[in-house]
Amino acid sequence: MSFIRSQILVCAGTGCNSSGSATLIKDLDKELKKHSLSKEVEVIRTGCFGLCELGPVVIVYPEGTFYSRVTSEDIAELVEEHLVKGRVLTRLVYHETIGDNKTISINDIGFFKSQERIALKNCGIIDPENIDEYLAYDGYKALQKVLLEMEPQEVIDTIKGAGLRGRGGAGFPTGMKWQFTKNAQGDSKYVACNADEGDPGAFMDRSVLEGDPHALIEAMTIAGYAIGANEGYVYVRAEYPIAVKRLAIAINQARDYGLLGDNILDSGFNFTLDIRLGSGAFVCGEETALLNSIEGKRGEPRPRPPFPANKGLFGKPTVLNNVETFANIPSIIRNGSDWYSNIGTEKSKGTKVFALGGKINNTGLLEIPMGTTLREIVYEIGGGIPNGKAFKAAQTGGPSGGCIPSEHLDTPIDYDSLIQIGSMMGSGGLIVMDEDNCMVDIARFFLDFTCDESCGKCPPCRIGTKRMLEILEDICAGKGKKGDIERLESLAIGIKSSSLCGLGQTAPNPVLSTIRYFRDEYEAHINEKRCPSGVCTELLSFVVVEEACKACGICKKKCPVDAITGEKKVIHNIDQQKCIKCGACIEACPFDAIVKK
């Protein structure tokens, strides 16, 4: 028997993969072979560890040394130092884990300290392509308990008691959804999983699929047993190739182990699972549109009622939950509903995964108990705003949500508090913006998104979002008129109240919340034709800073419209009438002597 003395965990989530972790793994294998260490040192590719900013991330156990931004060139030295000589390669160790003369455990650094991992329990810890590792971490124990010891109604009661609410955005109580579907009449029923994670800036569902796919399979099988379904579908974005591949591998492994298919664990219960790929339509994140898409149709939403619980996939009763919701199920079954309901706030139980991005030091994935404040997320876990800039707003809920300004930084985050301050939980994207981001431009960005993704079925959404976008484009281009803010508000109310599905009903939220908190920016654009953050190009002028200009003539040569005048040793000047604001001069100037104002 071989003796493994050390394990090297390499993150192979999409973030780290994009920064080259696949090559790292090959290089590591090669280097280990060179030193004849292949038998005693094991390289394990794991799912997302959370700290994508520092990718590719490599952790060496048993020491738990956390190396960040490792490149192929570092591998030879890393193996030589750490694995041959047993010395930590200090220059690659993540600086926050270096204390006074000793390394600090990764679990004690700011980013991880306040986290509580349930949905992400195994992400970054196990090899997602190896079912045995999942089994070793209590995998499929919940399924075993459910199938052999519990009645379907007991399962539903446990989920109800835990207080789990849907993590896809709307926050509907999961237990109730299951109950409705169980009670519905139908000769066959379905379990469907929404893995069509379309909110820009959210990637927690992908990380679960990539890092812990068996948790989803286990949870969907449990749901099948609880509601009386024998078939399940996972609807995944085609843009997530790694997730699709790992899920497919996991389904095959589960089938080989008798954990999917006929007579699972000799219980007499049958369950099969199939993957369906999306094809790039945001609206398919809406539940009825998603069901249409699984059926091979255009992903247009259906009127509700009837709700999917009564008439869902192929007209049969269907339970539809998102990935993160399912990922909580096995832990709830294993540990009981009381354990879960003790975490979080009164009406929002458990934890929530957020994808932290934008102007923040630690971008990545984190899981925190409900009720954590935004301040803790931004400043403690996220490590604050880079380059000494000031926090302006945090955007949650993607195109359905809103921007939260600094005065609400201390709001405890849960479903209800976020709605109160004009945003929503959404699927958990959390984008931080600093003083350099223009809030009118952000509103325009989101409306551009929803307008483009509107399926066109109902006029309020199809036409209304277009009209709102036109007004916003005008405002950003310096053509804003008095009364535009009021026009936007009135359109928003109309669209919210009369659209068919969640996409239209929430599309105006980014505009409403930015008007609510940043009305002054709208007014500056409209009344003074000025963009306070210096983003909206049409409202800016490019000017030469006289003190910095060395009169070198480089910008003059670069200007495509000859708008720059000046000779050698004569300070240059930009003719505002001719300038097309292309920015070529700013890029060309070696002395940073041209600025946007």
Binding site: S279, G296, K359, T363, E587
Partner: protein, 156 residues
């Protein structure tokens, strides 16, 4: 990638259709595989799917034009996708697009005349930690700055 699908490859399409024919809701799976095979879904391909599945062509066309990943026209040899997710946007993805547009002389959604590059603004690719991000086929470039663009494109 085949630009002219209609001539000799119908057999492959038949195989794809037959593989999925019995699956409920098989249309999108067939179209996804057909596009992988042919690079796009020209009208001949849609027509054959319609005939084989005994569905109206309008329905196939309706699905093909609804989803953004289906394309009726062949794309360039290299597909440049600049992520326009929120994280990338707030970190300056628009400037990246403008730079590429400028360099290649094409707008978003267009293909260069020599058929080499297609420029697209994509939805969030989920690599928010590396924002702003662009992909050229399967190669990912992260933490981009506009001044790096020319050098990257010239590699292709």
């Amino acid at each position: 990638m085949l630009k002219d699908a209609k001539i000799e490859n119908f057999d492959d399409l038949k195989i794809i259709i037959d593989k999925h024919r019995e699956t409920p809701g098989c249309l999108m799976q067939i179209m996804q595989e057909a596009q992988q095979k042919y690079g796009s879904l020209p009208i001949e391909v849609q027509d054959m799917i319609a005939n084989e599945l005994n569905m109206p062509l309008t329905e196939i066309y309706g699905v093909a034009t609804f989803y953004s990943l289906f394309t009726l026209e062949p794309k360039g040899e290299y597909n440049i996708g600049v992520c326009l997710g929120t994280a990338c946007y707030v970190k300056g993805a628009q400037a990246i697009i403008d730079k590429i547009s400028d360099k290649l002389g094409i707008k978003v959604g267009e293909t260069t005349e020599d058929g080499k590059f297609t420029l697209e603004a994509t939805r969030c690719v989920g690599a928010c930690g590396l924002a702003p991000v662009m992909m050229i086929n399967d190669d990912v470039y992260g933490r981009l700055q506009p001044k790096e663009i020319v050098e990257i494109i010239e590699k292709y």
